[in-house]
Amino acid sequence: MSIWENIKIAVFSIRTNAMRSILTMLGIIIGVASVIAIITVGNGGKDFVVDLLSDMSSGAVSIQVGTSATAGELITKEDIQALRNIDTIQYVSPMDYKIGSAYTDEKTAMCFALAGNEDLAQVMNIKMRRGRFFTEEENNDASNVCVVTEIGALVMFNSLDCIGEYVNFQLNGQVVKMRIIGVTSSDLTASTSSSNSTVSMYGDMLSNPEFQDSPMGSGSSAMMAIVCPITVTDKLSNTNGYSMLYLTAKDQTQAAVVGNAAKNILYAKHGNFGSNIYSVVNMESFTEMVDKIINVFTTFVAGISAIALLVGGIGVMNIMLVSVTERTREIGIRKSLGAKTSTILFQFLTESVILCLIGGIIGFIAGVGMAAAVAAYAGIKIKIELSTIAIAVGFSSAVGIFFGIYPARKAAKMLPIDALRRD
């Protein structure tokens, strides 16, 4: 007896008891739908978070100086130069930021100024929309140039065509007039959120007394951000060094190792081994960690919803047992006509697998629908992987086989005479 014949018999039997079949399938549908919805939303969420994180840095490692550091322990220009000389490091830049105000003849806004050397564009993945980033010479000469964000350009000039314009940055009563040389599409405030959360940065900005005293402090919520050479911000305050640096490794896969090596060089240069004053924040490992957390969480919740699948499976088993009992006579007839044990076994197994597969397919569609609704609400994109489809089909067939085998065996083992005698 061919598989095709079995499938035909199974489909017929499912259709004959349509209502009962649908109710039985419901358990499988709910089980598969919830598992699929959770996996799909989980994958979408993971991609969203991972994309966000990898957008922030191109595999950069940051080294931060603890808040208890003494002036002598801060990162100096000499440290940066020493790190530059290491073969395995590709780019390295100190990082500093100032929060002050920016003004032109027409406008004022609060301003976040991110500062570093010419490598900052690489280590912080700052993408240029127009113009260029500042050069090594400009940094060395402390040239008063800056790159503004798109939003900054729009806030101050109502246009992205602002290269060559000047903007004044004011901090602690000092003013630097900077020439704009480029516009970046990156959101600079988010770039530093690996070390300082964006929220706290804006918090800094709002609680800055300078800013509150400034004419646009009250009533104006205009904000902008610029990137400038660190030598420029140095002019605004007396600095002994920097509390943060970013670096990238030549071999991206070795980022963590290179980060640790750089940290040890800092200890060596400052003679403060064992003080734990420097710490390495590796975005890659952070991304991996987030990835792992979401995976564990998704698996956990999917596991819980798999209980629904189990309950659905028990429902299938129950209905198959009823079906076997109801069709005892049919089994007897089939056996008397020459059906073998295996034929009857496969007939009933096919029926339970098809029942579960239909449920699995409907459940998959429902699950993806649910996931799409949740994703639309949460503003993430869902991703349907082939493995998700495989899970839906695999799980539901497995449930069909697992819970169908007992009723099917019960049917197959019946003696024809016992089966025929029953009414």
Binding site: M1, E5, K335, S336, G338, K340, T341, L415, I417
Partner: protein, 232 residues
């Protein structure tokens, strides 16, 4: 070599004090082409004998040879195969599968034999023509009268062309007119050379067979050739 050779067969239920000997030492041979009626009252053991002959049930002790092959110690699956190839059943209660059409029912033994669709179609159509139901091929049992259903069952029994037809009270559930039709077909099958074993409690029907085997309390009490058939 006899087609059916049963030697000293016992079927004992509840062995021990309250044992019931449904078959109590039965020996019987049936030759190819015979038309045998097994007659007995209810509880006589005739149905047990029929189930045993049809390999639907196994005996407690004794030997059973079919075409010289010992079938008394075969496995369930081996028996299924022999039933499929050698025996066509006609039951009192028709035993059609209600979800299948007449044609679907007739094709079942052919399906289990592993026959291709085209061959199945040919044989099932032939069988349904033989019982005069070629126009009802696609009807389901519930859409047919009892007589028609029994004719479908006969078509199913003969479709695979088995040498033995085993009929258990084939007219028991039918009105006399339909019963006559069914008996006519059975006679025709016999004339075509098939071996017919017919179980009945009705002396009138038993008279139509060539040979009558009378069962009582699990034993054969009479085994004779009908005068009418001897005259033929």
């Amino acid at each position: 070599m006899s087609l059916i050779d049963v030697r000293n067969v016992y079927k004992i239920y509840n062995p021990g004090e309250n044992e019931v000997r449904a078959l109590d030492g039965i020996s019987l041979t049936i030759e190819k082409g015979e038309f045998v009626a097994i007659i007995g009252q209810s509880g006589s053991g005739k149905s047990t004998l029929m189930n045993m002959l049809g390999l639907l049930d196994t005996c407690t002790s004794g030997e059973y040879y079919m075409d010289g092959i010992d079938v008394s110690n075969m496995t369930d699956d081996e028996l299924s195969e022999i039933r499929n190839k050698k025996i066509g059943f006609i039951f009192q209660g028709f035993n059609l599968i209600s979800s299948l059409t007449a044609k679907g029912n007739v094709e079942l033994p052919l399906v289990y034999r592993g026959m291709k669709r085209a061959d199945r179609e040919k044989l099932s159509t032939q069988a349904l023509e033989m019982v005069g139901l070629e126009k009802r091929m696609n009807h389901r049992p519930s859409q047919m009268s009892g007589g028609q259903q029994q004719r479908v069952a006969i078509a199913r029994a003969i479709a695979a062309k088995p040498p033995i037809i085993l009929a258990d009270e084939p007219t028991g559930n039918l009105d006399s007119h339909s019963g006559r039709d069914v008996m006519k077909i059975i006679h025709k099958l016999h004339e075509e050379g098939r071996t017919i074993i017919l179980i009945t409690h009705d002396n009138g029907i038993a008279e139509e067979a060539q040979r009558v085997v009378r069962i009582q309390d699990g034993k054969i009490i009479e085994d004779y050739m009908n005068k009418k058939s001897e005259e033929n």
